[in-house]
């Protein structure tokens, strides 16, 4: 079976878990720092999604995952939570410089209407943060939005292959 792997990274495991659940429907494996879900296209092709909690202080599974050959990395922070963004920002910078694989930074909005984010900011192609990183808004608990994020990542890969 052909498998692509994507890491979903956040300050807590809640966001990756929500994201993976939105894509895969369920979490296959979970421990305190990681979770795992599988998205099968058919019996020959699928995606493995690794949810990881940022734990830069210790030699954690986060770095094991990060250093593997991933298709790309999705960083999630809650739009209203400055702590999450502060913890993610240096990692995004680091990844953008050190890794060539695509990075999508998602500002998760629990409710699109509070605070009101105009629809025009929900751009399907995201905004370029760096050569290999894009920013987008999304409501990760909504499968349509979560899929949109993953499609953005795949589009970035396809752009490279074109």
């Amino acid at each position: 079976m052909r498998i692509g792997e994507v890491a979903i990274i956040s300050h807590t495991l809640t966001e990756p878990e929500t994201f993976i659940r939105s894509i895969c429907g369920k979490i296959e494996v979970q421990n305190p720092t990681t979770c795992f879900g599988r998205f099968d296209v058919d019996d020959q092709l699928g995606l493995h999604l690794y949810g990881v909690r940022i734990d830069p202080e210790s030699k954690s599974f986060f770095w094991d995952i990060a250093s593997r050959k991933m298709l790309g990395y999705i960083f999630i922070f809650n739009w209203d939570d400055r702590t999450m963004l502060e913890s993610i920002k240096p990692l995004v910078d680091h990844f953008a410089q050190q890794f060539e694989m695509p990075i999508v930074v998602v500002a998760n909005i629990a409710d699109r209407s509070v605070p009101p984010i105009p629809e025009k900011f929900f751009q399907p192609n995201g905004i370029a943060l760096a050569a290999n990183a894009r920013f987008t808004f999304g409501q990760i608990s909504a499968p349509a939005d979560a899929k949109k994020v993953l499609v953005l990542l795949i589009n970035m890969l396809l752009e490279r292959l074109d």
């Binding site: 052909r2 498998i3 692509g4 792997e5 894509i23 998205f39 296209v41 092709l45 995606l47 050959k69 298709l71 739009w79 209203d80 939570d81 400055r82 963004l85 502060e86 920002k89 050190q98 890794f99 060539e100 930074v105 500002a107 699109r112 209407s113 509070v114 605070p115 009101p116 984010i117 105009p118 629809e119 025009k120 900011f121 929900f122 751009q123 399907p124 905004i127 370029a128 943060l129 760096a130 050569a131 894009r134 920013f135 909504a142 349509a144 939005d145 899929k147 949109k148 993953l150 499609v151 795949i154 589009n155 890969l157 396809l158 752009e159 490279r160 292959l161």
Partner: protein, 400 residues
């Protein structure tokens, strides 16, 4: 810019459509939830509404009836989108009075063409009808809000006033000649009314109709008119010697803010490099007249200066708008906005797909990056990004 409301929970179908509308210079307000759409349409007056028939919670037919029952939106063109190909379903929808019915899947080009045709038809009809069926229309320069209220009060009329000024549209509701409610952006009714009093440029439409809504404005017309006249007077006085409110102004290099008041500093902080004057007024945390005074003062002191920039190209700049949104979002902390601004600053300096620093020849890349580049090339050459292009396309298709 025409405002389109799109209501459909099938994002895979609607998002490309939304994107095409945006490319064609429409402002698109998208809802994947009919309940939220219903709430928003209480205050929103779009130019056209496209709505899926089969929606959870409130279906398209119910939403259409509701839109038609509201004085402000009863004449907004409405198109149903539906996967239902049955003729009887289509007939039922058309009998409700919907303007068009599009069966999905349908090409985006066809939908755009139908929308354009419908808007053109309506525009031509409006041109031929110098006045609405029950009401009248005109120019705010000739008749401002105070004049309109006085006129309607005399006849004790119930009506909705639609006022357009720049890109803003406000509504004022009168019941038996008394002002009972007003809406404009997200402002409270009394503030919405105060802002609209100062609109002396723009257009208005008065639609006579029965008004059934809660009274939110408690002052009598007399009190409102007194306030309104005073504000118009003050506004016009301050506006003298000021450029047009559509003028784009930029921050100058003056960075010593010691001579500025706290209000001036705060207003200046809302300008992220550049802004239109009227946007600054909208973003300010003070009263409109006070904001205009502050802008005048900042221009005079040299902290702001006019530019020749076309404001349309300016407003089309996505990043600039997002920065503004981040900086004025009351719910997000300032810190988050500041950090986001850093992200965007970086993207401002490069085109999407470009590099942060000038591109260097591959042999000059630092070791780590050269290694990564080699690895990426290898992946690319062997088609082993772990997945091939065809496989990626298959996954994407499955996700969409």
């Amino acid at each position: 810019m025409k405002k389109v409301v799109l209501i459909d929970n099938d994002t895979s179908y609607v998002l490309p459509l939304k994107s095409e509308f945006e490319k064609a210079d429409y402002e698109v307000i998208y809802f994947d939830d009919s309940q939220k759409a219903r709430e928003a349409l209480q205050h929103l007056v779009p130019d056209i509404i496209l709505c899926e028939v089969e929606l959870p919670q409130i279906n398209g037919h119910a939403l259409f009836k509701e839109v038609r029952s509201l004085a402000a939106t009863k004449s907004v063109p409405f198109i149903f989108l539906s996967g239902q190909k049955r003729v009887d379903d289509r007939i039922k929808s058309m009998e409700l009075g919907v303007d068009d019915y599009i069966v999905k899947p349908c090409s985006i080009e066809e939908i755009m063409a139908r929308v354009r045709a419908l808007l053109r038809e309506i525009s031509e009809t409006n041109e031929h009808q110098s006045q609405p069926e029950k009401g009248f229309s005109g120019n705010l320069t000739e008749m401002n809000l105070v004049d309109l209220i006085q006129t309607l009060e005399l006849g004790k009329k119930s009506a909705v006033l639609k006022l357009k000024h720049n890109t803003s549209t406000g509504l004022v509701f009168l019941k038996h000649g008394e002002v009972i409610d007003a809406t404009l952006d997200n402002l409270p009714p009394d503030q919405a009314l105060l802002r609209m009093f100062t609109w002396t440029v723009g257009t208005f439409v008065v639609e006579m109709s029965a008004i059934e809504r809660e009274r939110t404005i408690k002052q009598s017309n007399k009190e409102l008119i007194t306030v309104g006249l005073r504000r118009i007077n003050e506004w016009e006085q301050i506006k003298e010697n000021l450029p047009s409110l559509n003028t784009v102004v930029v921050k100058t290099e003056l960075n010593n803010y010691q001579g500025l008041s706290e209000d001036e500093k705060r207003l200046l902080a809302t300008v992220d490099q550049k802004s239109m004057i009227y946007e600054m007024i909208q973003k300010s945390h003070t009263d409109d007249i006070k904001a205009l005074e502050l802008i005048k003062s900042l221009l005079k002191k040299g902290y702001l200066k006019e530019t020749d920039e076309n404001y349309l190209s300016y407003t089309d700049n996505y990043l600039a708008q997002l920065k503004e949104h981040a900086s004025k979002s009351r719910s997000s902390s300032d810190r988050v906005a500041a950090i986001m601004a850093n992200f965007f600053d970086r993207s401002d300096q490069q085109q999407p797909g470009g590099n942060e620093q000038p591109r260097v020849e591959r042999r000059q890349l630092p070791d780590r990056r050269r290694y990564l580049r080699r690895r990426f090339d290898r992946i690319r050459e062997t088609g082993n990004i772990h997945l091939t292009k065809a496989e990626l396309l298959m996954i994407r298709e499955r996700l969409m």
